[in-house]
Amino acid sequence: MRFITFIVRRVVHSIFVLLGLSIVIFVISRIMPGNPARMAVGPRAPQYVIDELSRQMHLDEPLHVQYYYWLRDALHGDLGMSLVTRRPVADDMKEFFPATLELTLFAGFIMAGGGIFIGILSARHKDKWIDNLLRIISYLGVVTPSFIFAIFFLLLFGMALNWMPTMGRLSPGVSPPPTITGLITVDSLLSGNLTAFFDALWHLILPGIALAMGGLAQESRITRSTMSDNLTKDYIASARSLGIPEGVIMRKFLLKPSLIPTISILGLDFAGTMANAFLVEVIFNWPGSSRYGINTMLRKDLNAIAGVVLTMGVVFIVVNIVVDIVVGLLDPRIRLAPQRGE
């Protein structure tokens, strides 16, 4: 029962955070020098058009009233018009966001799976050559920004060796599956269109790995250091002294407690992945909401910027709640923490 109150409190807390975030974004969009209405219709428009639009956008009323209208519209899914695409921002997001989601989820799986695997490998062979090699690679991962990885991968695998495609989500010849979830790999699986599935997967590899390198490095470093710390704990020495074979200790009694810190920073690393998506999508011409975000930012398209950042915030909060639940299931100390008696 205490775990459910823990989750409910966590969700309520996130709603407040989201509200706070919407205020921050609203303030950002309003401190812009110049009149948003003029920006919307362009410099050559006649004055009366600008005045009419200002009234519609409630620009003449005090800031908090403007915020109220903006929030009310946002809650109804109306994020205003985008200057770049001349369409409601909500529609743009519906079209572009699934691509970013697919890319970041793919990177997320590589990051979690690969990170934990590499972490275990280097912890098991601690201080042997394989451990040092993996540590150097993971170090490079932490240090190099993903857009540099993206360029190197583009250069090496894309152009020089030409193993993998470097543009868009599907090769021109392949017919895309019907959009159910918007994620091509999932849709093609659901509709049984295997060629599209493998082609989409092939397109995902380069940008996905470039995006995941940073997180992969962090995850493996955390797994490795937690495992080597836990090796010295009493419950491991006690398990050894009771005759439990080393293999079982490593696989079971050491691994599970060591995964908890790894998974709890997964939320943070996933945030890093979403942020870097902005750059990787530009380099790989990936039609995601982040590339859309960059274009709108360059052209100061306020409503679109607000829409992109808000969606990013929502996804990040949802991911964090999921991570907290998984950690709660894994670690009884959180789930069943007894009342703090005197």
Partner: protein, 328 residues
């Protein structure tokens, strides 16, 4: 002339809210850490407070020095209440009452030298004299060499750290010191030095002590009067020799018989083997009636319904138990 009381506790209560039940109705879960404690410490006396974990003895200490505000009841120092109004305690009163904590490792700031640690109370309470000389005096008072002042706490042993903590308590020239398990974290061979130092300081500066510990053998050699606490309430109070020679309360007897002793005479003194059974209940849901009835070998019907009241058996020896008759 009957010795006057320096510190008087009247029906002190301290409850902690540590969480809420249910999502909507949110009724608080309270821990009754101290649940109606009354006793008085006389001038120049060492009053002993003994009890196991969850008994509330440390909460009594922390409330006295102002870390917590009492939920009910009062504590008065030479007639002056320590908690009047909600503004803080006047500096003059803070000067008079000091504390030495149990764990020397956490009661001294690892990032400050011993000189800086001892200077803090001097700055606040005794601004007049030459600061460096005072620090050297304080170190000599606790038999530490003057050059210790430039060391950091982790450079000295556990016993020496506790001596620095005692020096800090003496710095304001107090008249009352609370000793919260001062030697529990130390080895037996170092404990003797600290205890004898405290006794010497008591005579030299006419100090009164509230001595808290779970070690009854130590208590026998330090305290003039002893009170034993269980789950936030006092079960028995007696003059030290009487407390060990003729304990009334079943819990006191159970505690005495559980102590591993070193000599034959001590073995004879221990009450016949009372087998301690059961776990100490959690202070969140205290058993009904007398809170000890679940573990009491001489449990009666009434014990699980009515909570007994303090009764005076002899001059200065009171006990709270149905075995010894209750005022009707």
């Amino acid at each position: 002339m009957k010795p006057t009381d320096i510190l008087t506790f009247t029906d002190l209560k301290k409850y902690f809210v540590i969480g809420y039940n249910g999502i909507l109705k949110r009724e608080p879960i309270t821990v009754k850490a101290v649940d109606g404690v009354s006793f008085a410490v006389r001038e120049g006396e060492t009053f002993g407070l003994v009890g196991e974990s969850g008994s509330g003895k440390s909460t009594v200490a922390y409330t006295t020095i102002g870390m917590y505000r009492p939920t009910e009841g009062s504590i008065s120092f030479r007639g002056q209440s320590l908690f009047d109004g909600n503004k803080g305690r006047p500096l003059a009163l803070k000067k008079e009452i000091q504390i030495v904590f149990q764990d020397p490792g956490s009661s001294l700031n690892p990032r400050r030298t011993i000189k800086q640690i001892l200077e803090l109370p001097l700055q606040i309470h005794r601004r007049d004299e030459n600061r460096l000389e005072q620090v050297v005096q304080l170190l000599e008072m606790v038999e530490l060499p003057p050059d210790y002042m430039y060391k950091y706490p982790q450079m000295v042993g556990g016993g020496e750290k506790q001596m620095v903590a005692i020096a800090r308590a003496l710095a304001t020239g107090p008249s009352f010191i609370i000793l919260d398990e001062p030697t529990s974290a130390l080895d037996v061979s170092i404990q003797g030095k600290i205890i004898n130092l405290l006794i010497r300081l008591q005579n030299e500066f006419h100090l009164s002590y509230l001595f808290i510990t779970h070690d009854l053998s130590l208590m026998r050699n330090v305290a003039s009067r002893v009170a034993i606490m269980y789950l936030g309430k006092i079960c028995e109070v007696a003059e030290a020799a009487e407390f060990f020679r003729n304990p009334y309360h079943p819990y006191t007897r159970m505690l005495l018989s559980s102590i591993p002793v070193v000599s034959e005479e001590e073995e004879k003194l221990k009450p016949q083997k009372i087998i301690s059974t059961g776990e100490i209940p959690s202070p969140v849901n205290i058993p009904s009636g007398c809170s000890f009835h679940l573990r009491c070998p001489q449990k009666m019907e009434i014990c699980s319904q009515v909570d007994p009241v303090m009764v005076e058996m002899e001059e200065g020896h009171t006990v709270r138990c149905h075995l010894y008759g209750q005022p009707d």
